[in-house]
Symmetry: C2
Subunit: 261 residues, 2 copies
């Protein structure tokens, strides 16, 4: 079984026009496909609306119970369901899921790191935490799963989990079930940029030694580092192809960053 796993994040999700274009490209993908979406700054918008202060320690969000509710409402509620209804409009029979639905993604509350309690944040530990039987049941019935970045611990707690991590773990778990997986990280740039201020410069290929080199030389920053880590985690664990770029590269292979070992 060949499956495309597509992660969409950043402006692609927040900007209504970009979302529409991205979803229309996604729908053109032939065969089995899975969508995973983030939604970070939209949750910030609702936190602001409700005068709930953001809690950031050392650059990372602390998800207390109030923040979790807003994050769940935003990711699993308004973003996920609007994406699903848009996919239905394009005649792609989609289903919106968080990790609790069909017990499809189990995670574990993150333990304190350097005495920082991250709150309701969940980490996926191993490939058996992804319910591949359930995902394959949907795909066999031509239903396209759309995952938001919420998981659960099986003890009644919903947990906030990085969307890139969810995408790479789904890709790896399905690879272990003899599926051939192509993993695409889509955002609003043509690829991993060589120069942060030149949106036309990009790496055509990054192998693992180049990845280590550009990390050491601070060529990439912020969210790109865990994205690349997730990309190499996937490649090292059986995923056939991994790439990073704009959603239209799904149709046009000329511009994107291809990752290889």
């Amino acid at each position: 079984m060949k499956i495309h796993v597509v992660k969409m994040g950043g402006r692609l999700i927040h900007d209504k026009k970009l979302l529409n274009i991205s979803i229309s490209y996604f729908c053109k993908l032939k065969g089995s496909k899975i969508l995973v979406h983030g939604g970070g700054s939209k949750a910030d918008y609702f936190l602001d609306q409700m005068n709930i202060p953001k809690k950031i320690i050392q650059g990372r969000r602390i998800t207390d119970k109030t923040t979790l509710d807003i994050v769940v409402m935003t990711y699993a509620g308004v973003l996920n369901k609007n994406i699903v209804s848009l996919l239905q409009y394009y005649h792609c029979n989609a289903i919106g899921l968080c990790g609790a639905d069909g017990n499809c993604i189990k995670s574990y509350i993150r333990e304190k790191v350097n005495d920082i309690n991250y709150g309701y944040v969940g980490d996926i530990k191993e490939s058996k935490d992804i319910n591949t039987n359930f995902i394959k049941l949907l795909l066999r019935n031509n239903i396209t799963p759309v995952f938001c970045s919420i998981t659960h611990d099986g003890m009644g707690n919903l947990l906030n989990t990085n969307a890139d991590t969810i995408a790479s773990n789904i890709a790896v778990s399905l690879s272990k079930q003899k599926c051939s997986i192509e993993l695409h990280f889509c955002f609003d740039k043509i690829g991993v940029l060589r120069k942060i201020d030149d949106s036309n410069s990009y790496f055509r290929k990054i192998n693992f030694s180049l990845f280590q080199e550009i990390i050491q030389n601070n060529f990439v920053f912020g969210g790109m580092i865990p994205k690349l880590e997730n990309a190499f985690f996937a490649l090292k664990n059986g995923v056939s192809k991994v790439s990073i770029g704009l959603p239209n590269y799904l149709m046009d292979s000329s511009k994107k960053t291809i990752l290889c070992l």
Copy 2:
């Protein structure tokens, strides 16, 4: 195939302790089951938090785009996903759904009534608007669907739909597919009360002529009228049993209101 369709609403959903008890009773039901939940006043809470004025005309909510987003966040987001994670905790493999998911409930934007535009409110027109094949696929795989009161029109719009109406339409559509359906409307009273201020008084049985009589004599008010209308719609369209009462009557048949033709 015998299926219990259980609607839970009102305080059962808002009060954390009551929700926990209600869900634990629901889990004890043997065989195939479907949960439908409302959530009205929780959406009001978030509208208040965001200083979004409620728009009520002649006692009915007007769902403009901003209100729709809050309603979707609340019903399909925080309420639906917390119920699903609680069901998973009780080892009931549940999946949270709005009508767009798996294209399971299609509805139609309500036309103006007496010049009132209700906004993003959807009405279900006929039993083919319920995707019974998808619901039966889940049930055959021992997955319990949990529906919130959001539907879609297939044109990319999510729509706000009454939860009692969703429950009765699911029950009717499955009845037409040779399923034997028991429909339970659960709330925080032991049944349809004879006297509104005496929570121990209740009708043991209401047939259709008694229903018309108590409507005419103003014995029942507000949300109870459409609930009873939905109950009789179900009975008249093939649903085997319909009852109204506390969630614990699911286990104990002694106290509840039974509806019959």
